[in-house]
């Protein structure tokens, strides 16, 4: 039962070769580029969406923060496409792998912290002590703030992993329960309805990407701009 339930989350191999390599690279195929002045509809829609997202996300930053816009745009597009492709049946979602999410979260968070420390040292260090704390509490509060700082990349990675994994597991369980109850066909319809509702709610995996990039963004904002 355990092995059967978690097998969608094992990195796929095909005849001993890692099939995870083309699976991770596949979302990049879905975004064609074109040098034409007026491209086809797919490219135009994608470019308009990217422009919309970029304006929405990078509006709150100053000029220095906006140098990160390419990185953040590619991040949100990559995670959104990967998560949405994972909603197809029998597909493998790379963002369920803790390895990939850690490798995304830690360098980006470290980049924001180091940027803040390099260019605004006093300001970024001052984040460790909120204003107006009573004097006896200061050492404990610095420790607490340091812990909360270092837990940020872990939280980013584990949040993404856990949410996508839990959603996929739920869909798997409810789908198999629906099939099992098909013989006693009274509850089957209600369960399929629940599955459908859960699927649409899981489309808010896209909202999770928003959460991912947004939290990264907030961190960048705080470290760069005060």
């Amino acid at each position: 039962m355990n092995e059967n339930l978690f097998t969608p989350f094992m990195t796929p191999t095909l005849l001993g070769l890692p099939a995870v390599v083309p699976i991770i690279l596949f979302p990049t195929l879905l975004f064609p580029t074109s040098k034409h002045l007026i491209s086809n509809r797919l490219i135009t829609i994608q470019q308009n969406l990217i422009q919309l997202i970029m304006k929405q996300m990078m509006m709150i930053h100053n000029a220095k923060g906006q140098t990160w816009s390419l990185m953040l745009m590619s991040l949100i597009i990559f995670i959104a496409t990967t998560n949405l492709l994972g909603l197809l049946p029998h597909s493998f979602t790379p963002t369920t792998q803790l390895s990939m999410n850690l490798a995304m979260a830690i360098p980006l968070w470290a980049g924001t912290v180091i940027t803040g420390l390099r260019f605004k040292t006093k300001n970024s260090l001052a984040h460790f002590l909120p204003q107006g704390t009573p004097t006896p509490l200061i050492p404990m509060l610095v420790v607490i703030e340091t812990i909360s700082l270092f837990i940020q990349p872990m939280a980013l990675a584990v949040r993404l992993t856990a949410n996508i994994t839990a959603g996929h597991l739920l869909m798997h369980l409810i789908g198999s329960a629906t099939l099992a109850l098909l013989t006693a066909s009274f509850l089957a319809t209600s369960l399929t309805l629940v599955l459908l509702v859960l699927l649409t709610i899981l489309e808010m995996a896209v909202a999770l990407i928003q959460a991912y990039v947004f939290t990264l963004l907030v961190s960048l904002y705080l470290h760069d701009n005060t």
Binding site: F9, L25, S99
Partner: protein
């Protein structure tokens, strides 16, 4: 949990790094956002002085 099987972590991370940092960013860099010609302002209107600018007169009146 199969996600904690660290033997596959290397290949996953190594694949994600070029996919995210190289290919996606190259695709985004190759998008051209051009201004439509109706909205573009005429930005190269010089303020013409009434008197001749010196560089013009220098050509036609080299002794001045």
């Amino acid at each position: 949990m199969p996600q904690l099987n660290t033997s596959t972590w290397f290949i996953t991370i190594m694949t994600m790094l070029p996919a995210l940092y190289l290919i996606m960013q190259l695709k985004l860099l190759n998008t051209n956002y051009h201004f439509s010609p109706l909205q573009k302002e005429v930005s190269n209107t010089q303020v013409f002085n009434n008197s001749w600018q010196l560089k013009w007169t220098k050509i036609y009146l080299p002794h001045l």
